[in-house]
Amino acid sequence: MNKQTFLKWAERNAKRIGVKKAQVLRAFEQEMTSPADPDAPFEIPDTMHINMRYSYGGQSRFFREILENRRILGARCTTCSKVFCPPRTHCPHCYAKTEWVELNGTGRVLSYTTVYFATSSAIKNVPYIVAYIRLDGADTAILSNVEMKDVRTAHVGMAVQVKFRKQRDGRITDIYFKEAS
């Protein structure tokens, strides 16, 4: 493309896919001039993006209790008494209904990893810990973040306590964990 066409093209496409014009200019610098080979690969800025209104269905109360009441619930099978957290409306073993039970928010780390290289949505937050935590009173483990001053001191078996974010969105990241004192 010639420079003027290129600048307009970059601006229109940046707007279309929702990124900054400068970022498109940087990524497509090579398009500022036409390539010597007319068959040279031609790239365009693009995106795949869907907005949603997602229903939590039978899991709704779990997220509503976190958001409104800073309470964490498990789901207990009415037949085998296993407690699931993350919760579910029916037991995967008995296919029986579950009932809600409140958990006190303490638990232990079954395993963890510290993420140093992440997705474009999370890369600003590295390093961060992701751990499977079995809450006291539960039989399954939930994946969550553990916030620590020094991520290198994380270990399997660590006792942790649930924390609720000040601003809660109704997502699972409304909760995180800290080492129990």
């Binding site: 970022q23 690969p41 795949m48 993350p86 483990a141 699972i172």
Partner: protein, 399 residues
């Protein structure tokens, strides 16, 4: 059940980016190569199985439709399989059923994947956006929002294994990285042939503890294709058939917190056992001549030695320390370079691994040929913490 043979193979180069080809053009190249290899024309194809993992990678939902068009295969029946990293293995398994059942005599199995068209404008790099595309295949309600990556899901199980058995150590993992990068030096389709040292691996930056940069496979673009045929068809072709004598698959709890234990890959153990039972293998270390295991991460390969019963649980580290799995060892693992050395073009990976074994069983592997190889194992795993595993036992034709 009818016997099923692999009659033709084709693998494109695995590269970090194939900017000059779309996914359907890559598939075309590998299909043409496989047909040539089998000495067959495409009118003989009865049905097709497409192995394509991530729709974002292709910038196309249901991309199989457009590969089928591009290959000019209408109106032959076709299905698409998508089982994460195990997509290639699952596609072979689905194709096997088509031929073993007698429904079709010739089944084309096409694995293909792009990835690096995903692009993060903020950092000016592909990888963070590739990881984001993958993250949508994690549980969206409870797990994806935590920022756990694919490497993270395998790191979680590796740490649990380390806690239980004291291995794999970071040094043992580094040795696997060196082995696979070095093996790739002899593989012309490999993406990462590098003469690495253990020190290079140990000093590489952390990605997801305990995995460092060189403990990880890289995302690749490429295509791998194989042609499955019945015995009647196999006997009419020029090249000796390679038989699929064992096949095993399992899908474990994908939400790892639901599993009884976090330290082993149950799906892998079940899949290997089933494949061995079907092939009549009792002592895998003695009876298997080479294996292509799913080394998305070095720690995963070490645990796979245990899951494939090359040793007892907790004994995986010893096999790399003692050189058992090296090129000159008793059971060479990932002579192709594996995912770490050859690359991970997800939908194509399991088929690339099978094609590697086929080359050895036909004495066509050139400089990296494992001499007198008669029986090979393919392990294809995918999903969070190896939710899916498919194992295949391939055997040389006895004539």
């Amino acid at each position: 059940m009818k016997r099923v043979a692999i009659a033709g193979i084709g693998t494109t180069q695995f590269r970090s980016r194939w900017i000059e080809k779309t996914y359907f053009e890559l598939a075309f190249d590998a299909v043409r190569a496989a047909l040539d290899d089998a000495g067959m024309t495409r009118d003989r194809i009865g049905c097709v199985v497409y192995g394509i993992y991530n729709d974002f990678f292709e910038r196309q939902f249901q991309p199989d439709l457009f590969v089928h068009d591009y290959l000019g295969l209408a109106p032959k029946p076709a299905i698409r399989v998508s089982t994460g990293g195990a997509t290639g293995g699952s596609a072979i398994s689905a194709g096997f059923a088509q031929v073993a059942s007698g429904l079709y005599d010739v089944c084309l199995v096409v694995g293909v994947e792009k990835s690096a068209d995903c692009f993060d404008y903020e950092t000016g790099r592909s990888s963070p956006e590739v990881l984001k595309a993958i993250s949508y295949t994690a549980d969206m309600t409870y797990e994806q929002p935590t920022g756990r990556t694919a490497a993270g899901s395998f790191a979680l199980t590796t740490i649990a294994h380390l806690e239980k058995y004291g291995n794999p150590t970071e040094l043992q993992m580094a040795k696997v990285s060196v082995k696979n990068h070095t093996n790739a030096l002899l593989n012309p389709v490999a993406q990462s042939p590098i003469a690495l040292t253990v020190d290079d691996v140990m000093k590489s930056p952390m990605i997801a503890y305990p995995f460092k940069r060189f403990d990880n496979c890289l995302y690749s673009e490429g295509s791998a294709v194989l042609i499955l045929v019945s015995e009647d068809v196999a006997r009419t072709l020029k090249k000796p058939p390679v038989w699929i004598t064992g096949i095993g698959a399992a899908l474990d709890w994908a939400v790892i917190g639901n599993r009884k234990d976090l330290y082993s890959f149950e799906s892998s153990r079940i899949a290997a056992r089933k494949a061995y039972d079907m092939a009549g293998i009792r002592n895998p270390l003695e009876e298997i001549d080479l294996a292509e295991l799913h080394d998305a991460f070095t720690g995963t390969e070490l645990i796979a030695y245990e899951d494939c019963f090359f040793c007892d649980e907790g004994g995986g580290g010893r096999l790399i320390d003692e050189g058992v799995v090296g090129r000159g060892g008793k059971l060479p693992v990932n002579v192709s370079g594996g995912l770490i050395g050859c690359g991970h073009a997800v939908g194509a990976t399991g088929i690339m691994q099978a094609n590697e074994i086929v080359l050895h069983l036909r004495d066509e592997a050139g400089r990296r040929q494992i001499k007198n190889a008669k029986t090979g194992l393919v392990q294809s795993i995918g999903g969070p913490g190896a939710a899916w595993t498919v194992c295949l036992v391939l055997e040389r034709d006895k004539g």
